[in-house]
Amino acid sequence: MKIDVHNHIGVDPAYEEHRTASELVEEMGKAGIDKCVVFPFTTNPDFREQNNVVKEAIDKYRDKLIGFFTMNPRLPEMTDLMYGYKDQGFRGVVTDPRFGEGHESKRFHELVECALVLEMPVWLHSDDKDTMRVYIGPLEALMSKYPGVQFILSSMYYDHVGIATRHKNVYLDTATHMSGGMTAMAVQPVGTHRILMGSNSPYGLLRREVEKIEVMEEFTGFQKSLIYSLNAERLLKL
């Protein structure tokens, strides 16, 4: 079993990238991936429309795609929307400081509290601190404050290893790792039990992500299976 937890479908207006669910499913077949977590491009501000694209995709490919929805913490009706998406079958929430609310804001904390009640993991699509002005202090305070919430930290580049080492409710995906060796370095302090295979497709490739793990002699067969699927299955209660 192989699960790729980081895939975007819909429209990315920044790079004019269009990606359909059927294109993703075709790539999954070629790369030997059984299931994918999908969510909108976080660069697209019209997340309601883009969440609908994801909803259609998970309805069409029930056995292959797992949907996360994107949420802007600034919306007054945020919690009502989150309850609605949960009812629609979404399994997690994706948010991003680019929506204008930092990790320190009351609204951001409310989003996390709502995810806690809904028993959903929170995907922090945070980009890196240098280019996005994301500060680690408020981010780590958030993670400490809500130990019952499972966070998936996609970016933060080199800082993500230190953050995940300190906060046991943090999972990392492999998308920002430039090599399998970089994943192996993260594993030493963090452990393989909190690493998820994620390609960041369509910018990344599903096949590349599998090969990054496969080539690493540092991982045992069991550890590879943790990264390939067992951690995602446990986190998402599959």
């Binding site: 240098d130 920002t176 790792h177 090599s179 399998g180 960041n200 910018y203 490739l205 590349r208 002699e217």
Partner: protein, 273 residues
């Protein structure tokens, strides 16, 4: 069957150090850094496709504690190139923070036969477009050798800063190593405007940008590289090859990326292949 030449543009080789020195310089549990020529040749031969040749340079003198450290690293590389002339193309390291001593070292190893110059501005925290860097580049232009410069997301080695340096020396062809790492879109933007800038694929996070580079910039200015610097872990040559081969490029394009472009560029600065 692979009949073309596969050339790794980016490998750091280091002398074996006594165990006591490693204990002194590394925390317990940290992996031992460093890679000998013999171990890397084994890796080259084990790779699929096999790596025929590699551009090699030092590691510890990227920011040099003394000019002597630079010389020591470069002497080591020159000895290796002499010993394994069929596998290695040597590059000398220059730390521009040493000013006149750096220029002197540049001339010394070019006189000795090296035609490639490695610089890593993030190591000594120099902006790539500063006066010291410009001074080294001016000499490089006069010597007709090839600078290969580390890139990353810091403001020292940011693709736009490296591009600024390259734009001051339009007759000097420069390799932007790592393709900007996380900033590969910025690297593409720079290369689209500057025909004298090439990229290597080591440490590239988004492999599809290799295709984007070929389509939007040039099929001739992108080269396979691994940035291997350790026996295990980190960046390794097979993983780096997979980064290219997973794209399933048309055969001719893949041949150019894996070796053809590097051969043409190295020959153009006088490297005998």
């Amino acid at each position: 069957m692979v009949i073309y030449l596969v050339l790794d543009m980016h490998v750091h080789l280091t002398e074996e150090r006594p165990d006591a020195e490693w204990v002194w310089s590394n925390w317990p549990g940290e992996g031992r850094r460093g890679l000998s020529a013999e171990v890397f040749i084994e890796k080259m031969d084990a790779c699929k496709p096999r790596i025929d040749k590699a551009v090699v340079f030092g590691l510890f003198s990227l920011a040099s504690e003394t000019p002597e450290a630079m010389r020591r690293d470069n002497d080591y590389i020159m000895r290796l190139v002499e010993k394994y002339s069929d596998r290695f193309i040597g590059a000398g390291v220059v730390d521009p923070s040493w000013g006149e001593a750096a220029i002197k070292e540049l001339h010394r190893f070019v006189d000795a036969g090296l035609r490639v110059v490695k610089m890593r501005f993030s190591s000594m925290h120099y902006h790539a477009n500063n006066k010291a860097a410009q001074r080294v580049f001016k000499e490089i232009g006069e010597l007709g050798v090839l600078p290969v410069c580390h890139s990353d997301w810091t403001h020292y080695s940011h693709p736009l800063i490296l591009g600024d340096l390259a734009s001051m020396f339009p007759d000097v062809r420069m390799v932007m190593q790592h393709f900007g790492e996380y900033l590969s879109f910025d690297a593409i933007s720079v290369c689209r405007k500057l025909p004298n800038v090439y990229v290597d694929t080591s440490a590239l996070v988004l492999p599809k940008n290799i295709v984007r580079f070929i389509e939007e910039v040039s099929p001739d200015r992108i080269m396979y590289a691994s940035d291997t610097l350790s026996v295990r872990g980190g960046l390794q040559p097979q993983d780096a090859l997979n980064r290219v081969t997973c794209l399933e490029l048309p055969k001719k394009q893949e041949e150019k990326v894996l070796g053809g472009n590097a051969v043409a560029l190295l020959k153009s600065v006088g490297v005998k292949l």
